[in-house]
């Protein structure tokens, strides 16, 4: 090897030195300083202001504090004073900033010119848009032909829209979206109404039951992914922590019954991979053993014996694949604990025997006298003001279907759509796109050009939640009645307008009854008036002498809640009169042709797909597979071997309804007879981060028995087959593939 001579060294050094001093050196970044054009009131440059508001990334309604510097929202944290999330916030809540600053937001109102196909959108002035709406509504021969379809709509807007539609003489708003479908929200409310409703009580809007996770010693969760997306995950995760830390005397025990190992199942003490559709049988078997052997310390079970009259535990063991010994052991664990609770989860609602299954799970709580007891089942105590008791209730799928039917029959002339994306969220056979064709004027209030907004004639973007006002009843509740208040933390970035203000302006312009029903000058006036219904309530954390004072404290605290915990004990009014029954679950697809159950699950990051346009969420690895930025198909190693496929091999998943292609993740945490796919990707519109990425597995969901009327969307009742394609696609994953290389570590 040649030695470096002194001369060479000097030459090289000189060359490098010249390079350095002529500019191949890092420079210190200089940024321009931007003053306010008009400073916000009380703004102090360089000092953070914190605003208390409400998270709107899911329906839970967690309280947030937003750090604002120089008029820009910088960071979202949980509100420590809020009784629901108690200062904590999930990843989706943290990502809210990317809703506000999303580069694909609509910056102004637009109208579609040249029909709905060519997607020619032209900016439109707000006054012009309102003129068009008013003249269309005035021109209607029959104002009952107006419809409103909403998803994650804040409660104050639901209240305003409901009054608006009522005054028009139109049917009430339909609130339906995929997120609440996947968590079985409408069905959970229905379950509570069946068991605890008064005979002539509210039909709609029954409060969701609450399960006291924090103080329970034993929790049996039937498919409730309570640490991920189900109901109120931040609050439940906090309570799970308390349960584990043994607040109630000793470390709590969690058993999870579901076909796929979710993150919740992975955090549980025991995961029972049940065959889909047999969850109810297992609950039935457990109940039978408890009653038969008179387990537990709550006295005689004779009164409840009739519920389990014709149950054969050995038949159940055979049908569900869970052995009699395991069932006996589990029944003993559940009954021996002083504070045990059984939770019916969301995916049960997607099965044909969902309601029966949820009933059998609730029956376990009733048999063990767990209603209204520490670590048991509760109902929320109503907020003591009329405005907040009639909080929004999620419509069952049948109502969405009947809206679609009305649209198809040409009975809807004007359709308003707010914060739901049915074209993406509903399976194609629901016929939403075809139904849209029959509607004369479709108005979307979406902040983004999503799959539904592109079919709208007018898109009138609402403010994002960090720019807008509102309130949200907390449901399922915290340990006390609570309303989360929402207020703007920054000025609206673009020429958007609050939908509540659009509705109020419409009402004023229409005049007559409608204007009388909505007399408020703007939504803030409405909110101020609503909040002061709580003025003088002695149980609240604050009170004031004047409405103005109350309103300012409302905004300071970010809502209202009581000082002390307050929950209601459910009274069983709807005890089944005969034995509990669980019919065998029905599935679409011949088991010979379609050997696997399709187990869809909401992505922890993207939930039902509404997070797909936020790159932080796309980047967030799935907790179990560490996959991200794409759709994947989870196969048990045994299944993968029999199909001859490996990690990253692209497979075709075929159902009687449709097919999709995605890369394989070999995942030991799933039954060999099931195939799991996360929901959330596969957007054709919805901004640069969401589009053309992965597939939408809703396209596989087939209508069960032609989707019998009255049933929830049967999204867990489809069978599929899997075929290799011979192609490979490297899936973006945070960690190395499971198992690969680990043998060397030993």
């Amino acid at each position: 090897m040649k030695r470096l001579s002194r001369r060479d060294f000097l030459k090289t050094a000189a060359v490098a030195g010249v390079g350095v001093f002529t500019g191949i050196a890092p420079t210190v970044r200089r940024v321009a300083l931007e003053p306010f054009v008009r400073p916000p009131e009380e703004e102090l440059p360089g000092r953070a202001t914190w605003f208390a508001s409400t998270c709107r990334q899911c329906p839970a309604g967690c309280g947030i504090l937003v750090r604002v510097i120089n008029g820009r929202a910088r960071k979202i944290e949980g509100n420590p004073a809020h009784p629901l999330n108690r200062g904590k916030l999930c990843a989706r809540g943290q990502t809210g900033l990317q809703v506000l600053y999303n580069p694909d937001r609509l910056k102004n109102a637009v109208r579609q010119t040249g029909g709905r196909e060519p997607r020619q959108f032209k900016p439109i002035q707000w006054t012009e848009a309102l003129d068009q709406l008013v003249s269309t509504l005035n021109g209607l021969a029959d104002r009952s032909r107006v419809a409103f379809l909403g998803g994650l709509v804040p409660d104050h807007l639901v209240a305003l829209v409901s009054s608006f539609l009522k005054a028009l003489g139109a049917p009430p708003p339909v609130l339906f979206d995929l997120h609440t479908t996947l968590e079985g929200r409408a069905e959970a409310a229905d379950l509570a109404r069946r068991w605890f409703g008064k005979p002539q009580g509210q039909v709609q809007g029954f409060p969701l039951p609450m399960y006291d996770i924090a103080r329970a010693q034993v929790i049996f969760s039937f498919g409730a992914n309570l640490l991920e997306t189900w109901m109120s995950p931040v609050s439940q995760s906090y309570d799970y922590g308390l349960m584990r830390q043994g607040q109630a005397g000793g470390r709590g025990f969690l058993a999870q019954f579901e076909p796929r190992l979710s993150m919740t199942a992975a955090s549980a003490d025991k995961w029972i991979p049940v065959e889909p559709g047999t969850e109810g049988l297992i609950a039935l078997g457990l109940g039978r053993i408890i009653v038969e052997d008179n387990l537990g310390h709550v006295g005689s079970h004779r009164d409840h014996a009739y519920l389990y009259r014709n149950v054969s535990v050995s038949d159940i063991a055979q049908a569900s694949g869970v052995s009699i010994e395991t069932l006996r052991k589990l029944a003993n664990v559940f009954a021996d604990a002083d504070r045990s609770v059984a939770i019916p989860g969301g995916y049960l609602a997607g099965l044909s025997n969902g309601a029966q299954t949820m009933d059998t799970v609730m029956a376990l709580n009733v048999v063990m006298r767990r209603l209204g007891r520490e670590g048991g089942v509760f109902l929320p105590h109503q907020v003591p003001a009329e405005q907040f008791t009639s909080s929004a209730s999620i419509s069952p799928f049948s109502e969405a279907q009947s809206l679609i039917e009305r649209m198809k029959a040409g009975q809807v002339d004007v359709l308003f759509i707010h914060s739901t994306n049915p074209v993406y969220e509903l399976p194609g056979w629901a016929g939403f796109v075809e139904a849209l064709d029959k509607v004369r004027l479709v108005v979307s209030f979406s902040s983004f050009m999503d799959e539904t907004a592109i079919w709208a004639d007018l898109v009138l973007p609402d403010h994002t939640y960090l720019e807008g006002w509102g309130y949200q009843g907390v449901s399922p509740g915290a340990d006390r009645p609570a309303v989360s208040g929402q207020q703007p933390v920054v000025r609206p970035l673009y020429d958007t307008r609050s939908t509540a203000d659009v509705v109020l302006a419409l009402a004023a312009r229409l005049g007559g009854q409608v204007a009388q029903a909505l007399p408020w000058s703007d939504e803030v006036a409405f909110l101020e008036q609503s909040s002061t219904q709580l003025l003088g309530t002695s149980s609240g954390i604050y009170d004031a002498r004047t409405p103005d004072g109350f309103w300012s404290r409302w905004r300071q605290h970010g809502g209202w809640w009581t000082e002390k915990p307050l929950r209601d004990e459910p009274e069983v009014s709807g005890m089944p009169t005969g034995p509990l029954q669980v019919s065998p679950a029905a599935f679409v697809g011949d088991p010979q042709q379609y050997p696997f159950h399709l187990a869809l699950y909401p992505s922890l990051a993207l939930t039902d797909g509404r997070g797909a346009n936020q790159p932080w969420l796309q980047e967030m690895p799935d907790p179990m597979t560490t996959g991200r930025w794409n759709t994947w198909v989870e196969l048990n190693p045994v299944t993968a071997r029999s199909l001859g496929v490996h990690d990253n091999d692209v497979v075709k998943v075929i159902s009687p309804q449709g097919e999709l292609e995605a890369a394989v993740v070999v995942y030991p945490g799933i039954r060999p007879d099931a195939v799991a796919i996360p929901v959330g990707q596969g957007h054709s519109d919805y901004g640069r981060f969401a589009e053309r990425r992965g597939s939408n597995p809703l396209s596989l969901v087939a209508p069960l028995l032609g989707q019998a009327p009255g049933l929830p969307l049967q999204w867990a009742a489809t069978r599929v087959r899997v075929e290799g394609t011979g192609r490979r696609q490297e899936l973006a994953r945070l960690e190395s593939l499971d198992g690969a290389g680990r043998e060397k570590l030993r």
Binding site: A13, G17, I24, E34, P35, V37, P45, G46, R47
Partner: protein, 174 residues
């Protein structure tokens, strides 16, 4: 070239790059010429007219940063005063477009320093103590290299009971 030679050359280049970067960082914060501003704002004229520093840089007493006046504040006077001057016309154009002016920073500090105006003013220091006699400058420039030695010069001169705290690394490098 042999591998060793490549390696040696790379090492030398790296060392020089590092050194160059060090010098450059220091050079940019050396007392230097005034940066070119979008509007040639004249501090001397404003100071002679009796405008106090804190009238425009009003958050220095209460915040980390002294702050730049909002466009609204500029226009508060310049709606009428000197409205025919060329720079003020440029300002008015910005205002009519409701656009902020992108000012170039004059006094810079590296971003690993957590400096706050508030305690310095609270300790009775005047603006000119660090920023020089801005009232005599047409276009503002940085009069002194604000490096750590310069900070410590002053911090070490403080009474001993304060000095211990004032020379703690974590006071400025958090």
């Amino acid at each position: 070239m042999s591998r060793r030679r490549v390696l040696i050359i790379a090492l030398i280049a790296l060392a020089l790059l590092g050194g160059g970067a060090y010098i450059r960082i220091n050079r940019t914060s050396l007392a230097s010429a005034a940066p070119v501003q979008p509007i040639p704002f004249n501090h001397r004229v404003h100071a002679q007219a009796g405008v106090q520093c804190l009238f425009c840089h009003s958050s220095a007493l209460r915040s980390d940063v002294a702050g730049l006046p909002s466009m609204q504040k500029c226009m508060g006077c310049h709606q009428t005063i000197a409205a025919d001057r060329e720079p003020v016309k440029t300002l008015t154009d910005y205002w009519q477009r409701q656009e902020p002016i992108h000012w170039q920073p004059v006094n810079t500090m590296p971003d690993f320093v957590f400096f706050s105006h508030q305690p310095h003013l609270g300790a009775g220091l005047g603006c000119e103590g660090c920023h020089g006699n801005v009232g005599q400058m047409d276009i503002a420039r940085q009069p002194v290299n604000m490096d750590m030695g310069w900070c410590l010069d002053c911090h070490l001169k403080q009474p001993s009971e304060k000095a211990a705290r004032l020379v703690d690394c974590l006071l400025c490098h958090k």
